[in-house]
């Protein structure tokens, strides 16, 4: 299935886009989405493997399941405020 991962801030500027679309299996978890992001962007693999993802506006654990209808966002902050 297809998961669209919203991205923000300097990452969005660097990649010149507002989201990254990845393909994962129908039983995918948050961890699988991280892995798919890392595979798609090998030069930032370490970053994507450990980046925190929010599912439907709450931080999600690596084991949490993901569905194609979920709103997934990559929340990696470097000191806002």
């Amino acid at each position: 299935m297809t998961i669209r991962v919203l991205i923000f801030g300097s990452l969005a500027r660097e990649l010149s886009c507002k989201d990254i679309v990845v393909d994962v299996s129908a039983s995918a978890t948050v961890r699988d989405v991280n892995q798919a992001l890392a595979t798609k962007h090998p030069f930032k693999a370490a970053f994507f493997q450990s980046a925190r993802l929010a599912v439907n506006h709450a931080f999600a654990k690596p084991d949490a399941p993901v569905q194609t209808t979920d709103e997934v966002a990559l929340i990696e902050l470097v000191g806002g405020g």
Binding site: F8, A54, H57, A58, A73, L77, G81
Partner: protein, 159 residues
């Protein structure tokens, strides 16, 4: 006890928001976080009771101002991007958690989104409490956790 959260467009006013919007029973603290917000601002308030206000012995206000340089380069402004409603919800949860942990009376948080010019305010945290030590510890912890967990990003706009 009172929690008031507002994320609004552009620089913050120099005037602080009043802590007390509508006096109401303290039980309103248990009300669920508001999930919706308008395009122009997101504003989430819980209310403070009059007896609680009489215990306030200290108010500490932190204001973040956009500095004219960022990592050594001159900037004209910072642009803040908030991922809503997660930004407002997580600020609200953070404020409730800090309020309970440090036995505070009220927390008011204001954060800008969009462009804020150098020299203007982009963030304000006001804490009412009985004593000073709790307020300072709470302020430090709030800002550390906000920077780590609340989905608001800043981008420099260079001159």
């Amino acid at each position: 006890m009172s929690v008031l959260i507002r994320i609004s467009s552009g620089p913050l006013s120099s005037e602080r928001l009043p802590h007390v919007l509508n006096p109401a029973p303290a039980a309103s603290l248990q009300a669920p976080a508001r999930k919706s917000q308008s395009n122009s601002s997101s504003d989430h308030a819980e209310n403070i009771s009059a007896p609680a206000m009489q215990q306030v012995g200290a108010t500490v206000v932190f204001e973040g101002v956009v500095r004219a340089n960022e990592a050594g380069r001159l900037i004209r402004a910072l642009s803040y991007e908030a991922y809503e409603p997660m930004a407002t919800n997580s600020l609200t949860e953070l404020a409730r958690d800090i309020l309970c942990k440090h036995a505070l009376i009220a927390i008011t948080v204001e954060h800008s989104r969009g462009e804020v010019a150098a020299g203007e305010r982009s963030f304000r945290l006001a804490i009412d409490c009985a004593h000073r030590k709790e307020a300072l510890a709470a302020m430090d912890e709030f800002i550390d956790r906000m920077k780590r967990d609340v989905p608001i990003w800043k981008s420099p706009i260079y001159i």
